[in-house]
């Protein structure tokens, strides 16, 4: 008998990494090999992660589709399910449904520069596409990553940040909010939008990917516009509340759009068409 849409894959937590206070990354492997073989996803997609008995929670797949055999997710402890997830151990089995949603059009970005701008816990949805781009580095021109967090302690993926910093085929600019720096902090100090303005990347043949808290996005868009970025070339992801993940439950409906189906990746041009209900 066919399983319903709502049946999750059973996933085993292979590895848990603490990224920042309250932020963890799980590396998940399929319990059934067959599931693993049938599974494919693309950068930008998300899933429903569940702790049995606690419920489901929506977040992106944070690993790159170029890395096979596992998926990763990064989440911040904030609600009932994420708290339960945080209470899981390595080796525990959790549920995962997905992949759902649209993708970052990496194919269309071939031959272009990519500017990644992320704030706080919003790096995970971008990490997937960053690694995807880095793993297929030859397809793209300059890659720039601007990442900021409230404080040094709140920066996630610290190991990867180090790695990106060392690589010479990617430019990484990290920043922390004023007051969030430590004595040995070598990165920038300041809010993300002003840092973007300061480093002034060229809009020429460039796509920008912006993920972060609403206030950061709100102030970054005008900066990008000033730098000459066109709305169609500015991408972001929406974080609406979702339940099913595939356009039935009605929760993520914004205007005629189902964020779970038509998103979560949107260009700024698309967002401008949407009612302000996200």
């Amino acid at each position: 008998m066919i399983d319903s849409l709502y049946m999750p894959y059973l996933m085993r937590i292979e590895k848990i990494t603490c990224e920042a206070p309250g932020v963890k990354t799980f590396m998940l492997k399929f319990v059934n090999e067959e599931d693993q073989n049938n599974f494919a996803f693309k950068a930008g997609q998300f899933g429903e992660y569940s702790v049995f008995g606690e419920g489901e929670s929506t977040f992106c797949i944070a690993s790159s589709p170029t890395r096979k055999g596992y998926i990763e997710c990064t989440f911040r402890q904030s609600g009932k399910v994420t708290n339960a997830l945080a209470g899981c151990e390595e080796g525990s089995v959790i549920g995962f449904r997905g992949p759902y949603g649209n993708i970052f059009p990496l194919d269309e970005w071939k031959g272009k520069n990519i500017l990644f701008i992320a704030g706080g816990i919003a790096l995970p949805p971008m990490r997937c596409v960053i690694w995807n781009a880095l793993d297929t580095r030859e397809n793209f021109k300059d890659i720039t990553i601007v990442y900021g967090a409230k404080s040094v302690n709140d920066l996630v993926y610290k190991n990867e940040l180090k790695e990106w910093e060392i690589r010479d085929d990617v430019r990484l600019v990290t920043t922390v909010d004023p007051g969030g720096e430590t004595p040995d902090w070598k990165g920038e100090v300041g809010f993300v939008p002003s840092i973007v303005e300061k480093i002034a990347p060229s809009a020429e043949n460039t796509v920008a990917v912006v993920c972060g808290p609403p206030v950061m996005i709100k102030f970054t868009f005008p900066v990008l516009a000033k730098l000459g970025f066109r709305d169609e070339n500015v991408f972001t992801t929406l974080e609406n509340r979702m339940k099913c993940g595939f356009g039935k439950c009605g929760h993520c409906n914004v205007g005629k759009v189902y964020v779970c189906k038509d998103g979560p990746v949107f260009t700024q041009a698309q967002l401008k068409e949407l009612p302000d209900e996200y």
Binding site: M1, S4, L5, Y6, F52, G53, V93, K243, N253, Y278
Partner: protein, 341 residues
Amino acid sequence: MNIERRLVRKDSLEKLFDILRQNKKTVFAPVMKNGKASFKPVGSFSSIAEDYIQTTQSSKEVIFPRVEKFLDYEKNGKEVSIKGFDYQSVTETVLWGVRPCDTIGFGTLNSIFNWDFKDEIFNARLSKTIILSFSCNKSDDYCFCTSVGGNPGSTAGSDILFTKLGADGDYLAEVVTEKGQAIVALASELFEKTESVEKEKFLANVPVKFNQEEIRKKLEKFFKSSQWVEQSLKCLGCGACAFVCPTCACFDIQDDAHGKIGSRMRCWDSCGYSQFTVHTSGHNPRSVQSQRWRQRIMHKFSYMPERLSVYGCTGCGRCSRACPADMNILEHLISIQEVKI
């Protein structure tokens, strides 16, 4: 297939009911309680309500139950085993006494549950349900099916539509589908051949109140209208309208835990609830009632036609009857139609 027309004597309905029961079919039919008609599994013909314009709730619950279990799980240390939806548990069900504005709603639900991903649980229930509907011979001021493309004698969505021919008359049975024919086959002696009957004159008169196409077009430019705030001021933010609606299908997914074992299920939800869209961070994209009221109307009359090519309203008027604050959808739609932009 062509609609086949038969005559069923008024005394034969009970026989038909008994035959359905003998064939081990669960029959849901309207039953009166506390002055309200509602669909319930019925064991005897006599308990079926007769004199009602409309049940308080739509019959969608038979196919889209308010609580639907998706899976059972059992934990054992770090391991988990899960058991999916039990399709065997879906048995042949007869929906008896549905109004045409309900049956048409099943089509809408079908679109929602299958427009992209296919919801097999919904489909299993729908495919196992035989819909025996009854035309409306009376209506009230809340009815407006004719404004949204339906009519009191519409066969859309029915397997067999019965129309009572006069106050004490027999029934015209219009056999619409193969499922309907299978029922006829069970009790062929009850379905007599008939001359052409003009059923229209036995139907309730429901005047057309607005043009839904016009409304749809209007709504495209209506998002920022102040009407939403004005209309919704008296809305109390409950979910009565959504839960009685034959086409509302929003749901929530919840777990029910008992130590190592438990289950996951969906429960009805409503876009009218303030918590419906709230993020874990506390941010609420639709934080005030006017936004939620707008969502309800826009979804039914603008978004759904655009995305699913169906309207989300069958004109049954249930939401208006159920509303504790007298938010009358017909009144509001008319006023939207009348507003000049």
